[in-house]
């Protein structure tokens, strides 16, 4: 057995091995996510199958790249227009108004090199994006936590400088946010500098030089500062970096807006001229060079600058680390002056009374909030920074006074801030517990009650933001309108509802045991949450009161449904391999109802083919058709996934009782319907409605059959079986009846909302009494038969 002599490791090979290890780790992480479906061992098969997420990621990446390219183009062209008065893009329109023609600006840029002001401003833009490429990765990892990575690598037989170079290179290669920030603008600048399709190549090369510099600054802060600063200051630093990247992004976006406020352009114009000699400026100069010789000269300078800076940076880091690689023994400072017995004496005073009113869970949550600076800044300050940046840089709301005039916009902003704060706080409830979730399993309280308290706490705290915004608006309001009260109501009911939605979605979105901070929140649920939030703003912006109502009802029921689904998933929170057994839930019912609603509209459109008001025949066919489709689909899905608790039509019920209750309920519903129709005859809208309700005698019988047989079958399954049944699981009969009837009513045309609501109540009552779907079906059939016959043979 011969012993091979160990070959000393060359620095290049060491760096290569380190990078290979990083890339292997990334690949394993991705493969674990993508292919978990094919692995027998582990993988949560709850909502949101992981294997399809990578498609979504690809789509989002493509979308983001496209958006960034667009924004970059707007920035460049807009700045060219606004920075110089001699630009060709200032045109006077037909009516004498002045506007900016961006296409002309583009042509102008292609023709000649950039003007000095534009060159300076673009240097500023690239520098700012470079800063973002540094700040975003810096803010994403916990600075104050020990650097186990470095600690472990230092035990290998490698020189320290090799380790540092390796770290710089791997950080440049993995800085995806930096790539997103730099590639589109550089490519666009190259394009307008006349490089044609080589612009992309030039941008990639420029990125290859700028990203290591960004990694250098990042590592100086991360590795080096960790040795110099105590832990609490590091956390402060991290909080600040988190805050600063936002205004920068807004600033850059504002440069691309045609209506940007004046001082944004002034800042751009005033950027010092010597900066064109810094690396970002050199990139610009190289792209703008008139001929190849000049370009080579610029590139050479750029390479030289980069090399010098990198070498100096590494030397500085070695100096920082001369006393050791990790900062051991740094303890978080605690103010020690307090005696232990303060708790007993703290039972008097307003603060003590206030905290006595809160439960131990809420007190602990607030305490953690006040001590965790990072969390505090991210949750409470960041939304303010974002909104203020939006307002200042976008120039849409140049002064607070405008808040007093545009009430709808104010309401939208108030709601938006609230929802955003909720996303950072209530959404992350499980992640905030983190690895300490086990502690909540040792106390005699259900996790559901814990989550409910958290939803309450955050819902209440978050109300402050809309209150402030609306307060400012109220201060500047000149006159009062009733509409303002309605908006107020919408915003303030929206916040608690969305607190509930955020906590429920957070149960699915959060993975508190994930080691990587980035992997802790599943992006799909964030997008879903933002989608639901934007749906609610329809209620704010719509001017039709019935639409506002529909949206509010649907969102409220969605909140309850999601809560129920989350509650089903709670026992399986810390269990990596189990998932709740599939059960019929309100969420299924709501999805079915929404699908029904949409399909009904589609079928009506198809039948009417563009003519304006749908006839009775078309409406009935749409109802029946949509109902049938949804029914078949739901039954199929349930059969495939062997779901439990599917509502039964005949099984398990007492026929006599069913008929009795059914008859009674039918009588009530029909009487109400007829009375309503009779009353409607005396109103002004009657002629219109009467016209819609006529139908030829040939189709009457057929329509009657559809309305009496097909529609009840399907609609009862969805609205009573799924929605009412699901709601009944979490609440007593009366609220469940009201809620399901409300949802049933809002998907019908507005003229019939009232009698349909009563019908909903009656059928729900019949279902409650007879426990099978036969009862409600009979009621619904009877109602439809009576109303339609009355309409046909009046």
């Amino acid at each position: 057995m011969t012993r091979q002599a160990m070959q000393p490791l060359t620095p290049g090979r060491a760096i290569w091995l380190m990078m290979k290890m990083r890339l292997t780790r990334q690949r394993n992480m991705v493969a674990n996510n993508v292919f978990s479906k094919f692995r027998k061992k582990q993988g949560r098969n709850g909502i949101g199958k992981k294997s399809s997420l990578w498609v979504l990621t690809l789509v989002m990446v493509a979308f983001m790249l496209f958006t960034f390219f667009n924004v970059s183009r707007n920035v460049v062209l807009n700045m060219d227009c606004n920075l110089s008065a001699h630009s060709a893009c200032h045109v006077v329109g037909k009516e004498g108004e002045r506007f900016d023609d961006l296409e002309r600006a583009a042509a102008e840029l292609h023709a000649a090199p950039f003007r000095p002001e534009l060159a300076r401003s673009l240097t500023m833009v690239v520098t700012l994006l470079f800063a973002i490429a540094v700040l975003l990765p810096l803010g994403s990892k916990e600075l104050a936590q020990p650097d186990w990575d470095m600690e472990w690598l230092v035990t290998m037989p490698v020189e320290r400088s090799t380790l540092l170079w390796g770290r710089l290179l791997e950080r440049s290669a993995a800085n995806f946010s930096g790539m997103f920030a730099l590639l589109p603008p550089l490519a666009v600048i190259g394009w307008y500098s006349g490089l044609g399709w080589y612009a992309l190549l030039a941008a990639l090369l420029a990125m290859a030089l700028l990203l290591p510099l960004a990694a250098l600054l990042h590592t100086l802060a991360d590795t080096g500062l960790r040795m110099w600063l105590p832990a609490s200051q590091l956390r402060n630093l991290q909080a600040i970096t988190g805050l600063f990247s936002m205004p920068l992004i807004y600033f850059i976006m504002a440069l691309g807006m045609p209506g940007a406020s004046g001082f944004v352009m002034d800042l751009a114009r005033g950027f010092p001229a010597w900066t064109v000699w810094t690396p970002p400026g050199m990139v610009l100069q190289a792209m703008q060079a008139p001929d190849l010789g000049a370009a080579v000269y610029m590139i050479a300078i750029l390479l030289l600058e980069t090399a010098v800076l990198m070498w100096a940076g590494v030397a500085l880091m070695r100096y920082q680390l001369r006393h050791g690689v990790v900062n051991s023994g740094a303890r978080e400072s605690v103010r020690r002056k307090q005696p232990v017995a303060t708790d007993a004496t703290a039972s008097v005073g307003l603060r003590a009374r206030l905290s006595n009113a809160l439960s131990p869970l809420k007190r602990r949550e607030l305490r953690l909030l006040s001590r965790d600076r990072n969390f505090l800044v991210q949750t409470l300050l960041l939304p303010v920074v974002i909104v203020v940046s939006q307002m200042i840089f976008n120039g849409k709301l140049n002064s607070f006074a405008e808040l007093g005039q545009h009430h709808t916009t104010t309401a939208a902003i108030a709601f938006g801030i609230g929802v955003y704060v909720l996303m950072l706080s209530a959404f992350q409830t499980l992640n905030n517990e983190g690895q300490v979730l086990w502690l909540l399993y040792t106390v005699p309280r259900s996790i559901e009650s814990v989550l409910k308290e958290k939803a309450q706490l955050w819902g209440t705290l978050t109300m402050i933001y809309p209150l402030v915004v609306i307060g400012i608006s109220a201060w500047y309001t000149t006159h009062f309108e009733w509409r303002m009260l309605a908006l107020l109501l919408i915003v303030f009911t929206g916040i608690p509802i969305y607190s509930m939605i955020a906590v429920s979605l957070g149960v699915f979105a959060c993975d508190p045991q994930a080691v990587e901070a980035r992997a802790r929140v599943r992006p799909t649920y964030v997008y879903l949450y933002m989608l639901l939030a934007s749906f609610y703003t329809w209620s704010i912006y719509s001017s039709v009161w019935s639409q506002k109502l529909v949206v509010m009802v649907l969102v409220a029921s969605m909140a309850l449904a999601l809560w129920q689904k989350a509650r089903d998933a709670l026992p399986y929170l810390l269990d990596p391999a189990a998932a709740p057994p599939p059960r019929v839930s309100t969420a299924d019912g709501l999805i079915a109802a929404t699908a029904f609603f949409i399909m009904q509209g589609l079928i009506t459109l198809l039948i009417m083919q563009g003519t304006d008001t749908p006839t009775l025949k078309a409406a009935t066919m749409a109802f029946a058709g949509a109902g049938l489709l949804v029914y078949v689909l739901m039954r199929f899905v349930y059969w495939r996934s062997k779901t439990g608790g599917v509502p039964a039509v005949l099984r398990g019920g007492d026929l006599a009782a069913t008929l009795r209750y059914g008859a009674l309920a039918a009588a009530i519903a029909c009487t109400t319907g007829l009375a309503y129709m009779a009353g409607l005859q005396h109103t002004s809208v009657w002629p219109e409605i009467a016209k819609q309700m006529s139908a030829s005698s040939g189709s009457r019988a057929w329509l009657l059959a559809l309305a009496v047989v097909a529609a009840p079958l399907c609609e009862e399954f969805i609205f009573r079986g799924l929605i009412y049944g699901g709601l009944r699981r979490s609440m007593p009969a009366l609220p469940a009846m009201a809620m399901s009837a409300a949802i049933f009513a809002v998907v019908h045309p507005p003229v019939s909302i009232l009698p349909v609501f009563v019908l909903g109540l009656c059928t729900a009552w019949a279902y409650e009494r007879s426990k099978t779907l036969l009862g409600p079906m009979l009621v619904h059939a009877a109602y439809n038969a009576v109303i339609l016959s009355w309409q046909f043979w009046r």
Binding site: K41, Q42, R331, E332, Q338, R367, V436, L439, S446
Partner: protein, 246 residues
């Protein structure tokens, strides 16, 4: 007091815990022994409702741990193998939080907390943030959290793993005192000398299967081995391995 009725946990094709049936009487100290990765922590997590059993059930004082978790927690104190606490809370605050969540009033929780901190020698450390605690301190704090509501059952996962000799002796004495008071203790460990000194009965689990249970003498007789628990243990787990490979 603690009844396992066919409790099992299956991860895909892998049996983490094969159907386990066992009874622990009131006031008994039961040691759950096994090599690393045998399924001890999985079993304990199923008892605490952190994991959901694939089949079977476990009852504590007649209550099912999966369907009635809140009631069970009133009677049970739990110490995990690696206790992790909120980094920016002081030890005293954490203890107070746990006591209040168990239903004590604020004043009473503070008083109980102070008493336990004194007992465990943690008064100095209690004013420090938990992020600064060593492993021994964390285990002591965890044990204090488990004992603060005077539970009738203690479930401990590797309580002295990683402690220095003095701390280890301390914990064992505390457990013996609790047992003398009538507390039922279910302790999992792979440290056999502690099990020998502490436990009335032991159960040996290997690759998810309970291969032997009873008092030390009974196990010795069944394995027809003599000597310390260590020798018996090694022989039994060896046999079990041999059986599996046949």
């Amino acid at each position: 007091m603690i009844e396992f009725q066919g409790l099992s946990k299956v991860y895909g094709g892998f049996d983490a815990v094969k159907p386990l049936s066992l009874t622990v009487k009131r006031g008994e100290v039961f040691g759950f022994l096994g090599p690393n990765g045998a399924g001890k922590t999985t079993t304990i997590r199923m008892m605490m409702g952190i994991l959901v059993p694939s089949a079977g059930q476990v009852r504590i004082d007649g209550l099912d741990c999966h369907t009635e978790p809140a009631e069970v927690k009133r009677r049970v104190g739990y110490l995990p193998d690696t206790p992790i606490f909120y980094d920016y809370l002081r030890g005293r605050e954490i203890l107070q939080f746990v006591a209040e969540m168990h239903g004590y009033s604020r004043a009473e929780a503070a008083e109980r907390g102070a008493r336990l901190l004194a007992e465990f020698g943690l008064q100095e450390a209690a004013e420090d943030y938990a992020v600064n605690y060593s492993l021994g301190m964390k285990k002591r704090l965890g044990l204090a959290c488990a004992l603060i509501h005077d539970p009738v059952v203690l479930i401990l996962d590797e309580p002295i793993n990683g402690l220095d000799p003095r701390a280890s002796r301390d914990v064992q004495e505390r457990l013996l005192a609790a047992a003398a008071r009538g507390v039922t203790i279910f302790v999992s460990t792979h440290l056999l000398d502690m099990a020998e000194k502490l436990c009335d009965r032991v159960g040996i689990i290997h690759h998810g299967q309970l291969v032997a249970t009873g008092t030390l003498d009974e196990i010795r007789a069944k394995a027809s081995a003599s000597g310390s628990l260590e020798d018996v243990f090694l022989k039994i787990t060896d046999e079990a391995a041999a059986e599996r490979t046949e």
